[in-house]
Symmetry: C2
Subunit: 212 residues, 2 copies
DNA sequence: GCAAAATTAGAGTTCTGACTCTAAAACAAT
DNA sequence: ATTGTTTTAGAGTCAGAACTCTAATTTTGC
């Protein structure tokens, strides 16, 4: 497809710059209201240049989504590996950082999905994958003694989905387009989730987490 | 400002039709991707007509928001009145119906707020009002014996905000632009919230609610 | 150094959507 | 009816955004 240099260089290409600048602008200005022209202007490159690297705006968004997924999967892998194992709250905090870094997605996902079926499919797959991972992680945490076994499947689903919904929708409540973003919502979300999950932690772990 | 007939007629004006049709289209198609032309076409009226009734698209959205607020405040009032008092879950179910009826707002609020400072202000006021109401309602429910006193203020805030975030962000997870919307997400959200709140209900009320 | 390939600039095209303007139609009050 | 007011139609304007095309420039492999 794209004639990408295979190994030879790790110098920063315009393609990379477009992606990382886009994430920044999307977070600040909203993906929906950012035009490709804005991106070009911010990088002082020409539209021709941008469209050489990406077929269209959707392709940029999809590429960013993939990038986010890969970071996420990397975190998952290390969280469940023995040497780099993460207990629940540590894991949540690390996940939240990713959510925060790509927060425009969570704010605008519905809108983006609506106008790009490809992204919509990617999103659904990722959601499925997330649910499967959560199941695995919970089992691990139970075995490690951080979490008490959750009785019924419905409660588990509830916990699962509420954590997910909260993590991804929380920021838009506490972020205002009017003023520049701070990481305060990030911390608040972590604290909320800790308090929310407390009843499901083992007494030992609960003590450890809530002492702060 | 607008030369609105004062009392004389309750016949359905185009203004009303525009509002109610817009809610429908916005829910189905997304407010962001619905143009005023779409609305005109759906009602088979001319753009001139639409712009006679509303200065611009934002004014339509703001009018709908006001309408939603009024319905909400009506519900609040009746929920706390002695004769029409509603216990927590009944109240949540009724609230959820309103959320559902205006779900496009909750899906796209961030985006809409971004491009309309007036709406943004309305939204913040409404959020504040909601928090104040929730506080009052909790106290009432404690007095009525549905809810055990929530110890610390932080837990209360957590419950409050998680209910709010869940209620308003839940649907976008379970709705796909690809297929027509069903009310299943609505029921699921209610069940989740019931399960989530269970630990804070009095044993009596909890039994009553979870029997289903 | 040179040819081929990759990258870039930037003007230009096309399209869509918000909104305007004018004239006509419908309606109301006298 | 007639005069004034409200409502409507619909063609038309304008701006912005996505995207194209061609010609230059840079980079790469040899």
């Amino acid at each position: 497809m794209r004639a990408q240099p295979l190994i030879r260089s790790k110098r920063i290409t315009n393609r990379d710059k477009i992606l990382s600048e886009s994430v920044g602008i999307f977070n600040r200005m909203g993906a929906g209201s950012t035009s490709t022209n804005h991106i070009c202007a911010a990088l002082a490159i020409s539209p021709g240049n941008l469209y050489f690297h990406f077929k269209n705006k959707e392709e940029i968004v999809a590429a960013i989504f993939q990038q986010m997924c890969e970071e996420t999967y990397g975190l998952w892998k290390s969280a469940l590996a023995e040497e780099t194992f993460l207990p629940p709250m540590a894991f949540i905090e690390r996940s939240m950082e990713i959510f925060w870094r790509y927060r425009f997605f969570h704010r605008e996902m519905y809108h983006l999905r609506r106008q790009d079926p490809v992204l919509s499919k990617l999103w659904h797959k990722h959601l499925e994958k997330t649910r499967r991972f959560m199941r695995a992680a919970f089992h691990k945490w139970v075995r490690k003694g951080h979490v008490t076994t959750v009785g019924d499947a419905f409660t588990f689903r509830m916990i699962n989905d509420i954590v997910l919904v909260t993590a991804s929708s929380f920021f838009q409540f506490y972020e205002s387009p009017e003023r520049p973003a701070t990481t305060k919502p990030l911390q608040l979300a972590n604290q909320y989730l800790a308090r929310f999950l407390e009843p499901y932690f083992t007494p030992d772990y609960a003590r450890q987490v809530t002492i702060q």
